[in-house]
Each structure stands twice: as C-alpha cells, then as structure tokens.
C-alpha cells in the first residue's frame, strides 16, 4: 500500500546543495510493523516527512494506497494527512493548555461529526493506546508524564482510523520504562491490524518491529525481517 519509487530530496541552501535522499525505493504492505533505522543525517527524517505528506520529494514517486502523493496541492495534502496518516512526534505532540480529550479529537475539528460521536471515538482510541484511566481525560497536557503524553499522541493518531501510523523517534525523550510502554502500545495496535512505521536511531526500539529498513547517507543499506 505504500510504494516509493526512486525518491530523491535535494535541499538548497544558497549555493550549497545537500542530497538528503539519493534514490530510495521500497514497498510497505498493510499490517506491517516497520522500523526505519539510521544515524543522524542518514535521511530518515527526510524520508518520514515525505511518507507523511509533510514534504514533497525532489524527484521520484510516492504512492499511498494507489494515490500519487507528490502532485497534490496544499489542501489535498492536509486532507490526506488528516484522513490517512496518524503522526506521533518526538516532542511537542500535544497542544499546550488543552485537555487530553480535546487533543485527541483535534483531527475531527470542522468535520461536522457530532460532539457525542467525537467523545465516543476519543475514549475508544485512548483505551486502545493504553490510557484506560478516565481520570486523565480532563487533565491538561502539561500535567502529564512523557510516557502518558506519547500515548495520548498515539490515540490522536488513531482517531480517524488512518492507513498508517508514522512515529518519528517516539521514545526519544523517554526513559526505558516509558519507552517500553509506548513500544508495547504500538505492538498491540499492530496486532489489531494497524500499519505502523517507526523512525529511530536506536536498535532496542527497532527490535520491537517486525521489519527493519536501515538507511545511511540517503540510501537503503539493508531491509530485513526481525
């Protein structure tokens, strides 16, 4: 369902050109749990931005469920992100001074769905991402621990039932215990059938996935099963 053909990305900074991606091609199928691993500067973040429709490649094609993404306009990309992709970032995942529930239903804003329905869905996805205790739902984002924040972010990522969940270094700011909690949550979701792609530079994190794509200097080094 994800098909990347010869993706390249060149950044221009004045006269200096940086090739972040030098022709990356791969496929990811529905229900896979993939870790994309690589050191800093390997191009993994750039790849994630393209996969998440946050950026467009300089050349090459990116197909998501048969739709060619690189030609889409701003509003169409927005719609795509909202409906088909769920993000979990390393930091700044939640809106500040906003409750957990309101954060989770953020992607449903302006959708015309009733408040009751939004609430129902929010509670459902929160339970699915390991936040069962309802006492947290009215808490503000700054009153939560790192691990709790990430799980709320996962819930938000799920609310529109996306095709893929993209996590960019989701455990980067967490201690070992919380990292485990978060990665276990991903595993549980994957068992339910969600497609999960995690970007990381740590082997321990990649170990939780079923497939590992190693990337270095803008190219795929290795693509193997765990």
């Amino acid at each position: 369902m994800i098909k990347c053909s010869n993706l390249t990305k060149v950044y221009k900074n004045g006269d200096v050109e940086t090739e972040a991606l030098k022709g990356v091609s791969f496929k990811i199928y529905k229900g896979e749990f993939v870790a994309i691993i690589g050191p800093s500067g390997s191009g993994k973040s750039t790849l994630m931005h393209i996969l998440g429709a946050l950026d467009v490649p300089t050349s090459g094609k990116y197909y998501l469920d048969g739709q060619e993404v690189s030609q889409l306009k701003d509003d169409q990309l927005s719609d795509l992100r909202r409906n088909r992709i769920g993000f979990v970032f390393q930091s700044f995942n939640l809106l500040p001074r906003t409750t957990v529930l309101r954060n989770v239903i953020l992607p449903l804003l302006y959708s015309g769905i009733s408040i009751k329905e939004r609430d129902k869905r929010a509670r459902e996805v929160l339970k699915n991402s390991g936040m069962e205790e309802e006492k947290f739902y009215d808490r503000f984002s700054n009153q939560m621990s790192g691990g709790q924040i990430q799980r709320v972010a996962i819930a938000r990522a799920l609310i529109n039932n996306p095709a893929i969940i993209l996590a960019d270094e989701p455990t980067g700011n967490l201690d070992t215990k919380n990292s485990h909690l978060v990665m276990k949550a991903f595993q549980k979701l994957n068992k339910k059938g969600h497609t999960i792609i995690v970007i990381t530079h740590e082997d321990e994190v990649a170990a939780f996935a079923k497939r590992v794509i190693a990337i270095r200097d803008g190219e795929i080094e290795k693509d193997s099963k765990n």
């Binding site: 946050l54 509003d75 409906n83 993000f87 001074r97 302006y110």
Partner: protein, 404 residues
C-alpha cells in the same frame, strides 16, 4: 463548523487568560480614555457656547470708552460717552433690529425687611427682556410708562430675591430700599443660571430714568445692548451703529472713537478658539494613550503568534486546513478587539457620566470619538493578530514545528 470555530476561539483565549486579559486591557484603556477626553472637551465647548448663547441672541454691545482690541467681556468703560439720545437714535434709524436696551448699572447695597445684600442694580427699559433673553417668572417687568415716570419699582432676579426675602418666597408688593429710596417689587425673573458673564439672577432691575434720577444722578449709560434681527444682519447692523455714533459724536477718525462695539459672535469665536485648543490638547493626550494602547496590542498579538507557531505546525500536521487555521486566528483577534472595544466604549461612557454627575463637569460623548477609537483599536488588533498568523500558517508543517 462555526460552532467549532467559536469554541476553539474561546478555548484558546481562555487558555491564556493573562495574555488575553492584558490585550483586552490595552484596548479598553485606549478606547475609554479617548472617549472620555473628547467627551470632556466637547462638554466644555457645549457649556460655554450655551452660556454665551443665553446672554442674548444676535447681541451687539456698545460700551463707552475707547475699545481695546479683543475685549471679551462687556466691559464697563469708565468714560461716560453714551446717552439716551444715542440709544433712541439707534432704535429709530437702524433697520433690522428687534430691540435696544440702554442700561445704567452700578452696584449698590440693598436692604429689605432686615436682610441686605450688595448687588448690581440695572436701570433699563422693557426691551431688555428681548435683547438679553430674560424671562419673567412672576409679576411683570418694567414698562415704558414706568420709565417715563421714573416709577420707583423694581424687578428682582431669583438669587437677589433669595438673599433679600428668603428662598422661593413671593415678595411682590413688598419694598426694597436702595440708596435711601424705596422701590416696590413688581416682578421676579426666571432663573438663568450661569456665572462669569454677569450672573443676572443676582441682579435688581429698575426703570432707566429711576436709576438716573435716584441712584446714579447722571444721564450717561453704562452700555447699550442691541439685538439684531438675525445672524446675517449682525455685521451690517454693527457697522451702521458704528457709523451712526461716530457721526453723532462728531468723530472723524474711527480709531478715535469714544465707544466700542462687541458682538456676540466675536465672543463666541474667541471662546470657541480657546475651547478648541483645550479640546485639541485633550485629544492629543487621548491620542497618545490610544497609540500606546495600540502598541501594547500589537506587541501582545505578535508575541502570541510567535509563541504559537509550533501549535500552528501541529495543527497543520494533523491535517487541519490552512483556511481554518487562518479563520481561527482571525476570529480570536476579532473577539479580543471587539470585546475590548465594547468594554472600552462602555467604560468611557460611564466615566463621562460619572464626571458630569460627581464633578459637575459637563461632558458629551461624541460618536466620532467612539468610531475613531474603536476602529483604531480594532484595526491594530486584527492586523497584528491575523497577518502574522497567516504567515505562520503558510509555513510548511515541519518548519513551523521546528520554530523556536
């Protein structure tokens, strides 16, 4: 969708009550001070103009003695150059006049029934009522017959009546004594109010001839008041009076005139220019306050947007369309400026009312000040709240998320 927008706006604004509050405060202070200051200026202008209007309509005052340019008050010249014949000549020879009142006025000690007061006694004719815009409250005013016969009658102003006989009494038929002569009270005038420009309520009126015979002992007049028929004829009438008196007094050189003329319009414009300066001063102060308030608003808005760039990035990343992000920030700016504006206008209005009731300061809230203050504040708020947000919304989500 509107409901969502509204809710997001309220949620955002109340999420940072301190910042929203400070922004609104800047707007409120700016607007309220402009409205109040201008109201004070306008009120001052109104009350002074009303004061001047009330001394008569289309009034020209002839005073004896050489005129000094720019005399504002009806000065009583010490020279004695105006006579009753001058006054009669004016009345008979000059067209477009509704009344002429020659006056012989001086201050005297007056006694009545054990009370006494020191006040001005105005010896005059029936036309006084027309020319000086005075009305009778009870009894009657001086008649031509009484002037001809030097009748010993008097009309009291309301304050003089209060001082001599007690407040709100009716002393008609009773006597007052001025300079060893008894005058019978035949009328009381209506309250005119005012101060400065001769408080006519604290006056006693007697027939002109009676004043000349029994009180001052001479035939000269303190002033002659002339009421022109209308605004347009005033300058012509003034010129004609000037020419007439110059020829009657056999004076060739106008600069050597032994009398002076002031008209009400001159007085009004002199005073108006003073109040205008006053209003400009107040408005400038208010303008500065508005400017500072505006800078405060601008500062608040820009800081807010800068701090929320990452939030904008996150919203974009989860797929909220650019237009909704723009609308949200626009809506926040509008709600802030309009609610601040509303409170500011209300506060300015209340402050103006408070000043007029507690400090006896006349105020009038003007629509133009309200509109000006509101549009400046709203303009600043919306421009600086919306356009920076629009710029942030145009960033790519990654750039916005990375923003420090």
């Amino acid at each position: 969708m509107i409901i969502d927008l509204f809710k997001e706006t309220i949620w955002s604004l109340s999420g940072n009550k301190a910042r929203s509050g400070l922004t609104i405060l800047g707007i409120v202070i700016g607007i309220a001070s402009v409205i109040t200051m201008v109201a004070i200026g306008q009120g001052a202008q109104n009350s002074i103009e009303k004061n001047i209007q009330s001394i008569g309509s289309n009034l020209i005052i002839v005073s004896p003695g050489a005129g000094r340019g720019g005399q504002v008050s009806a000065g009583r010249g010490s020279a004695q150059t105006l006579t009753l014949e001058d006054s009669n000549a004016i009345k008979s020879e000059i067209p477009n006049i509704t009344g002429v009142e020659p006056e012989n006025s001086r201050r005297y000690q007056i006694t009545a029934k054990g009370n006494n007061t020191n006040t001005q006694v105005i010896g005059t004719v029936p036309d006084y009522l027309i020319v000086r815009n005075v009305k009778i409250d009870s009894g009657s005013f001086i008649t031509d017959q009484q002037v001809r016969s030097s009748a010993k009658v008097a009309v009291l102003g309301s304050t003089a009546r209060d001082d001599l006989f007690g407040e709100n009494t009716n002393p008609i038929g009773q006597s007052i004594r001025i300079k060893n002569t008894d005058f019978q009270v035949i009328g009381i005038t209506q309250v005119k109010g005012g101060s400065g420009f001769n408080n006519l309520d604290d006056s006693v009126y007697v027939p002109l001839a009676s004043s000349q015979h029994y009180l001052s002992g001479d035939n000269f007049l303190s002033t002659i008041g002339v009421a022109a028929a209308d605004q347009n004829s005033m300058s012509a009438v003034q010129q004609q009076i000037n020419d007439l008196l110059l020829s009657r007094h056999k004076i060739e050189d106008p600069t050597q005139a032994d009398f002076s003329l002031i008209n009400q319009t001159d007085i009004i414009s002199t005073v108006t220019s003073v109040t205008n300066t006053f209003t400009i001063l107040l408005s400038s102060i208010a303008g500065i306050s508005l400017l500072v308030g505006g800078i405060g608003i601008m500062n608040m808005m820009l800081t807010t947007v800068t701090e929320r760039t990452r939030e904008i990035g996150l919203r974009k990343a989860v797929g909220i369309r650019k237009i909704y992000i723009n609308l949200q920030f626009l809506s926040e700016a509008v709600v802030l400026t309009f609610s601040g504006g509303g409170v500011g206008i209300l506060l300015g209005w209340i402050a103006s009312l408070g000043l007029s009731s507690f400090l006896q300061l006349s105020t009038q809230v003007t629509l133009s000040s309200v509109l000006l203050a509101f549009s400046v504040s709203a303009g600043v708020g919306i421009v600086f709240g919306f356009y920076p947000a629009r710029r942030a919304a145009n960033l790519s989500p990654i750039e916005a998320l990375r923003y420090e």
